[in-house]
Every structure is written in structure tokens, then in C-alpha cells.
């Protein structure tokens, strides 16, 4: 028993050596801070004021306050709308559609394929903050490209962030994030051998049937992982919305990550901000479990 364990340890030594830097970094930059946030969420720690000088444990006070916070429901609802709009409908469905189109074009050898591919990718390789400023430059009321363009055709300026703030941030995030799902799906589509489709075509299956019976089932495991990844990334979106609306107007685009930031670093209530971060972490963990179960069940 011990001998075999030792043998397995020896066998796995290389893996352990390879994994430990990653494990160490993860512990340093994720597990450590996460634990600290958990501890901090039970205190009234603040950046300034009397609570900064004398932080003390307050038990579950922050949690009871959070669940009684009338704004928190709004923030959760915003996050759900944002995730459904930009991650599930936008990035996931649009990314799949784009991948199918590009794959089709590639198989047919269309010339413009690479051009389209590159332009979608360009949105993705931009740092998020630059993508944010790009869209600010687009949507800005006074000097934004959209309103300047409208004024040239004699149409009045539209207050994009005022009349449809959530839609504006969703569009910006779809633009930014679609390339990721497209890339993954495109990779997966390329692994599907062409003869499957040829056989189906010989059997008289139309395009929809070929997609439904062959493409979709083959994509399912990768789809689950992609959905998990975009959902979690979107749920935690922070920089893009901060650059565009900073959660406004009146909490209309305040998502959970921004709310945690605003409580910790604008209201300077670090304990309360940590509480929100912990709740967010728990929700993300929940997503991960659900999606991973789903992907395993189908695989």
C-alpha cells in the first residue's frame, strides 16, 4: 500500500512539480485574498472614520444588512439581465452563429473569411478599458460618434446612456466578448469531419437537420464549458461598465461587482464591500457546479 503510494508519488512527481507554481500563485492571489475577504466580511472594517481605527467583529451584521438592503435586489436583477443579455443571448448565441458562418465560409473557401475573422478578433484583443473608452467615444452625448453622425443627417442627439443604459452596456460587452465564444466554437467545429455532413447530405438531410442532428450534439460538451466561462466572466464584469456608466444612472447598470467596489472604495466600507464580494464568490461557485454537472452528464 505504502509502496504503491510511493510509486504513484514518484510517477506523479513531474506533474506535481509542474502544478505547484500555478497552485502557489493561485493560493497567493486568489485563495489568500478570498479568505481575507471572508474574514473581513464579519468585521466593520472601513478605510476611514472610527471603524478604520478600531475594526471589530460584528458577526453576521453585514449579511443581515445586505439582505435587507433595498438596492441589493436591484443590483442582483441588473446582474441577471446583464448576464442573460450579453453572455447568453449575445456572446454565446452570436458567437455560435458567427462560428457557424465562418466555418461554412472556410469550408467553401470564401475569400473574405480571414478579414471577418480578424475584425471580430480585434474587438477581443483590445484591453477592456480601451474597449470601454471606445464605446464612451461612441455613445457620448455631446461629442460621441453616434450623435455627431445623427446630427449630419438632421436627427437630434440621443441620450444613449440615459434612455437605454443597460442596452448600451450590453451591446458594448457583446461587441467585446463575442470573439471568445466564436474562437472556441470555431475550433470545435473544425474537429467535426466533413464526411459526416456529406453522409447526411447523401441521406437527404437539409441544413437545419444537419445542424440539429450532428453539429449541436458534437458541440455540447464544449458549449457547457463555454457557457460557464462566459457566464462567470460576465457576472464579474467591472471595468467595462465602470468606464461606460459607472453603474448609473441611479443604479440602473449597477451590477454586483461594481456594487462591491463602490461600497468598499467609494463608501470606504471595506467590511460591507467584502460581504458583497463573498456573496458573489458563492454565486459564481454555484454556477460552476451547475454547469460542470451539466457538461459531465452529457459528455
Amino acid at each position: 500500500m505504502t509502496a504503491s503510494r510511493r510509486a504513484s508519488l514518484r510517477r506523479n512527481r513531474l506533474y506535481l512539480a509542474g502544478l505547484s507554481p500555478a497552485a502557489f500563485l493561485l493560493a497567493l492571489f486568489f485563495v489568500g485574498p478570498a479568505l481575507w475577504a471572508l474574514i473581513s466580511s464579519f468585521t466593520n472594517r472601513a478605510l476611514v472614520g472610527i471603524d478604520a481605527a478600531n475594526p471589530r467583529f460584528v458577526g453576521l451584521d453585514n449579511y443581515t444588512r445586505l439582505f435587507a438592503d433595498p438596492d441589493f435586489g436591484r443590483v442582483i436583477l441588473n446582474s441577471v439581465i446583464f448576464v442573460i443579455g450579453s453572455a447568453i443571448i449575445g456572446q454565446f448565441v452570436l458567437g455560435l452563429a458567427l462560428a457557424l458562418l465562418l466555418d461554412h465560409a472556410e469550408r467553401r473557401g470564401f475569400l473574405a473569411t480571414n478579414l471577418v475573422y480578424a475584425s471580430v478578433l480585434l474587438a477581443w484583443v483590445n484591453p477592456t478599458i480601451i474597449a470601454g473608452f471606445l464605446w464612451v467615444a461612441m455613445f457620448d452625448f455631446y461629442n460621441g460618434s453616434l450623435n455627431v453622425g445623427l446630427s449630419h443627417v438632421g436627427l437630434g442627439p440621443v441620450d444613449w446612456f440615459g434612455s437605454g443604459p443597460m442596452l448600451a452596456v450590453i451591446i458594448a460587452n457583446i461587441w467585446r466578448g463575442t470573439a471568445f465564444t466564436m474562437l472556441i466554437f470555431l475550433g470545435a467545429l473544425r474537429t467535426i469531419p466533413s464526411d459526416i455532413y456529406e453522409a447526411a447530405r447523401v441521406d437527404g438531410a437539409n441544413a437545419f437537420r444537419r445542424f440539429w442532428d450532428h453539429t449541436l450534439p458534437l458541440l455540447r460538451p464544449i458549449a457547457a464549458l463555454t457557457l460557464l466561462s462566459v457566464t462567470m466572466a460576465t457576472f464579474g464584469t467591472f471595468i467595462l461598465i465602470q468606464a461606460l456608466t459607472n453603474g448609473g444612472p441611479a443604479l440602473q447598470t449597477e451590477v454586483i461587482a461594481l456594487y462591491a467596489y463602490h461600497q468598499a472604495f467609494q463608501a470606504h466600507a471595506v467590511g460591507y464591500g467584502s460581504t458583497i464580494a463573498v456573496v458573489m464568490l458563492a454565486l459564481n461557485l454555484g454556477f460552476a457546479i451547475v454547469f460542470l454537472r451539466w457538461s459531465r452528464a452529457r459528455a
Partner: protein
């Protein structure tokens, strides 16, 4: 339990960085980097620390950090540093000028103060004295002031404005006051007199409606609301309106007043300003909306704006003659037409940090940067009433009618409360005004929700309604 807290405290340096990254990490699995503050050079302090050591040689490095987006201060800060260095050969001054907004600077500074890697001299708003002092971040200046002859030049009201819990914590250079600015040309086009004067607070909305009815593309009125308006939402909009309608922020016992008849009237005023399109919605959606609003009032694109007295300097610097001809300034009217007023404040002040290792040299720097000459010239350039009386005799200051008017207006000033909770109350005000300005809820409902916002901010036991 206390033991655990103590352990947390000893690990502050690490944890401070950790909390910054936690929120970021928790926010986004794909996020990289942390928002830890930039750590400027730590202070290798020598020289005499602690109590004032008159007569003994002063030496060591003074680390000064201050924000300035407008660019008026650097040459005076450099001048003070040079004066100090030539006076004491052993003293060096390291200046960390941050060209960012006050809010961002403050957050960065707090993280730095919390970490223990502290500068010696900091420069932030005097309204923050309460919370900074409660946190133990700043040093009382009373022992230094006792030996400083010039302190007598500061009027009692100014000295009181930088006092908290019986101690003096900061040195102000220029005081805050605000004006109701109006464009004479825009109002005339709307059929109003060039020397327009509102009979009461409703008169502002009436003038704005007159401008709007001309449909000339001129924005009628900028009433700050929401978090985007920063502290202007409170100091340049909600608070003066509350006072104009006979309300107060706090009652006699120090409880913050939520819903009240005056609060309802303020919210109704907001509902009218935004509901009738007198104030543009972009104020609550744009970032730093004051930049656009100030610019527009300066060039005639906006007719009415209640703003800081210092804003006038930007317009005058661009075109002095046109500004004097077209921009009028008035005190804030009240509901009944009773005595008009302005909002006063201690302005941005100089502080010594509690953890400074070189307090005596830090104090010498603060003295140098607050000389009558520098205070007079700086305030003439970046127009504020001077904090020390003798600075008003500096020719550059004395020769400006605008500055003389501003200084005189301070006699009609009401001051905001130097409470450590005020910053939290400002956030409640931002949330509450955003709701009504965005049209999400009506005025009465908004006043009720303001009570909830206050309770969230300062605790239910410190809030009352009238």
C-alpha cells in the same frame, strides 16, 4: 475575538493590498492586475520627530502629496519647497503631484494611509477632518500653532472650521463659497432682465423655463444629481435647496433628517427640473458632468448654474472681458424670498499625517506654503476668498472686484457640518437625487427612500424624520 482583530491589524500592510485584489479577483475571473495603490518612495526620515523642537536644527525629507488637475498649485508648492530647502540645508522636499480628481486621489490616499507607507504632508478637503481624525490618520496641530505668530491672521470662523473634538487639524489656504451663476445674454434672449434676480427659489425654475421656451439650443439649467455629480450633488444642489426650503441636514440632537416637508419640496424641485427638461439628463449619465456644464456656462451654452466660486477663474482665464460682461453671479435665493445665502466650507487644507516620521519639517513646509504671499497669489489665480486675512492685501487679490465680492459673500455663508458621517450622507443624497432625476420614482416617494438611504449610510438609530 480581539486577539484575531489584533492579528488582522499587524498584517495590515499585506492585507491592504489583498483586499484591493480580492474585490478585483472576485469581480472577474479573467481580470489581471490589482488595484493596489502606487507606492511612492517611502520616507527615510531623519531629523526631529514628535513635538515642535524650536531652535534645534531641522533636517530630513518631507514627502508631500497633493492632487491638482487645474494646474494652479504646482509653482507655489515648488516655491515653498525651494524656500524651505534654502532655509534649512538638511531638509529635502519630495513632491508627489497627482494630476487626478479629488475623489480618486482620496481613495488612493486612504489605501496608502491604511498601509502604513505614509507621506508626511497631505492636501485634501477640510470637510474630511472628522473622518480622518477618527481614523487616527492625522496629527493635531495645536502645539505647532501655539508657536506660530501668523495663526492670529486666521479669523475665528476659519479656525473653527478646521477644528474637531476641540483640536485643530489642518491649515486652510482658500475658503469655499458658491454662486448662482447666470448668463446675462441668454436670459436677455429669453426676455428677462440682464440684471435678473430671482424673487425666490421658484424664480430659478421660472427663468429656466423661459430659456427653454425659446428653444435656442441653450441648456436652461444644470442641477447636479446622482453619484456622477460627486460632492457637487450635495454642496451645489441638494444642500442649498434644502436650506432654501427651510430644512436642515441634522436636528438639534445631531440626528440626520430624512423625509421632511423640506425634503419633499427639494425632491419636487428636482422632479420639476428634470421632468420638464430644464436640466439635461446627461448630468446623471455623463462622467464628470461638471466639466461640460462649467464649459457651457462659460461659452453661453448653459444659462443657469449653481457652482463653486473658483469656477469663475476658469472662464476669466479664457476671456476676462467676455466673462465680466456676460456672467452674472448671485447668492442662492430661498423659498420665501428671505435672506439669500451661500454655502461656505474650509476648502482644501494641508495636513500632517499621524504616522509621519518627520513632523517638524512637515510643519515647516506647511508654514512655507501658507505664507501670506503664496496664499494671496494662489487665490487670486484660483479664485477663493483667502483663509488668512493679511493675504487679502496682496495686490493681485485686492485688485479683483470678483474676489472682493466673493470674500464679502462669506458673511452670508452657511457652513456644512464637519461631521465624520457627512461623506456617507453625501452618498445617500446622491442615491436619492438620482432616483428622482432619472424619473424612476416621484418626489414624495424619493423623499421617503432618502430616509432608507440615510439609514443604510449611517445606521437607523442616527436618522429621524419630520
Amino acid at each position: 475575538m480581539d486577539e484575531v482583530v489584533r492579528q488582522i491589524m499587524t498584517r495590515r500592510r499585506f492585507l491592504q493590498v489583498a483586499v484591493a485584489s480580492t474585490v478585483v479577483v472576485a469581480c472577474s475571473p479573467s481580470a489581471t492586475g490589482s488595484s493596489a495603490p502606487t507606492q511612492a518612495g517611502s520616507s527615510p526620515a531623519g531629523g526631529s520627530g514628535g513635538a515642535p523642537a524650536s531652535g534645534s536644527a531641522i533636517s530630513g525629507t518631507v514627502n508631500v502629496t497633493y492632487p491638482d488637475e487645474a494646474g494652479f498649485k504646482p509653482k507655489y508648492v515648488e516655491q515653498a519647497a525651494a524656500a524651505l530647502k534654502s532655509q534649512y540645508s538638511g531638509v529635502d522636499v519630495k513632491i508627489d503631484l497627482q494630476k487626478i480628481g479629488d475623489d480618486d486621489f482620496y481613495t488612493k490616499l486612504l489605501l496608502r494611509l491604511d498601509s502604513g507607507d505614509v507621506p508626511d504632508v497631505i492636501h485634501v478637503g477640510g470637510s474630511l477632518i472628522g473622518e480622518l481624525s477618527d481614523a487616527g490618520y492625522i496629527e493635531p496641530l495645536d502645539t505647532y500653532l501655539a508657536a506660530w505668530e501668523d495663526w492670529k491672521q486666521y479669523p475665528k470662523a476659519v479656525q473653527d472650521g478646521v477644528s474637531y473634538n476641540g483640536k485643530t487639524w489642518a491649515i486652510p489656504y482658500g475658503l469655499d463659497m458658491r454662486w448662482l451663476y447666470y448668463r446675462k445674454d441668454d436670459l436677455q434672449k429669453a426676455g428677462l432682465a440682464a440684471d435678473w434676480q430671482p424673487a425666490n427659489v421658484q424664480g430659478i425654475l421660472d427663468a429656466a423655463a423661459a430659456v427653454k421656451s425659446k428653444d435656442s439650443g441653450v441648456l436652461p439649467y444644470a442641477l447636479y444629481a446622482g453619484p456622477a455629480g460627486s460632492s457637487g450633488t450635495a454642496d451645489h444642489a441638494f444642500v442649498p435647496l434644502l436650506w432654501a426650503f427651510g430644512g436642515e441636514l441634522q436636528d438639534q440632537s445631531g440626528k440626520w433628517i430624512g423625509d421632511s416637508p423640506a425634503t419633499k419640496k427639494v425632491m419636487a424641485y428636482y422632479a420639476k427640473a428634470y421632468g420638464d427638461g430644464l436640466s439635461p439628463k446627461e448630468i446623471i449619465t455623463a462622467t464628470k458632468p461638471w466639466t461640460a456644464m462649467r464649459e457651457k456656462l462659460g461659452n453661453g451654452g448653459l444659462a443657469l448654474l449653481f457652482e463653486g466660486g473658483w469656477v469663475y477663474g476658469g472662464w476669466a482665464a479664457k476671456d476676462k472681458a467676455a466673462t465680466e460682461q456676460n456672467v452674472g453671479y448671485l447668492l442662492h435665493p430661498t423659498e420665501s424670498g428671505g435672506p439669500s445665502f451661500t454655502i461656505g466650507g474650509p476648502g482644501t487644507c494641508w495636513y500632517i499625517t499621524a504616522k509621519s516620521k518627520n513632523k517638524q519639517a512637515a510643519w515647516e513646509f506647511i508654514k512655507a506654503v501658507n505664507s501670506a504671499e503664496i496664499v494671496g497669489k494662489l487665490n487670486a489665480e484660483d479664485p477663493h476668498p483667502v483663509a488668512r486675512a493679511d493675504a487679502a492685501e496682496v495686490p493681485e487679490f485686492k485688485s479683483s472686484k470678483y474676489l472682493v465680492d466673493s470674500t464679502k459673500a462669506l458673511e452670508k455663508a452657511k457652513f456644512t457640518i464637519p461631521s465624520p458621517e457627512y461623506q456617507k450622507v453625501i452618498q445617500a443624497i446622491q442615491t436619492a437625487t438620482a432616483r428622482v432625476a432619472s424619473g424612476e420614482i416621484g418626489a414624495d416617494e424619493a423623499a421617503k427612500r432618502y430616509t432608507d438611504d440615510l439609514k443604510q449610510a449611517v445606521g437607523a438609530d442616527k436618522v429621524t424624520t419630520l
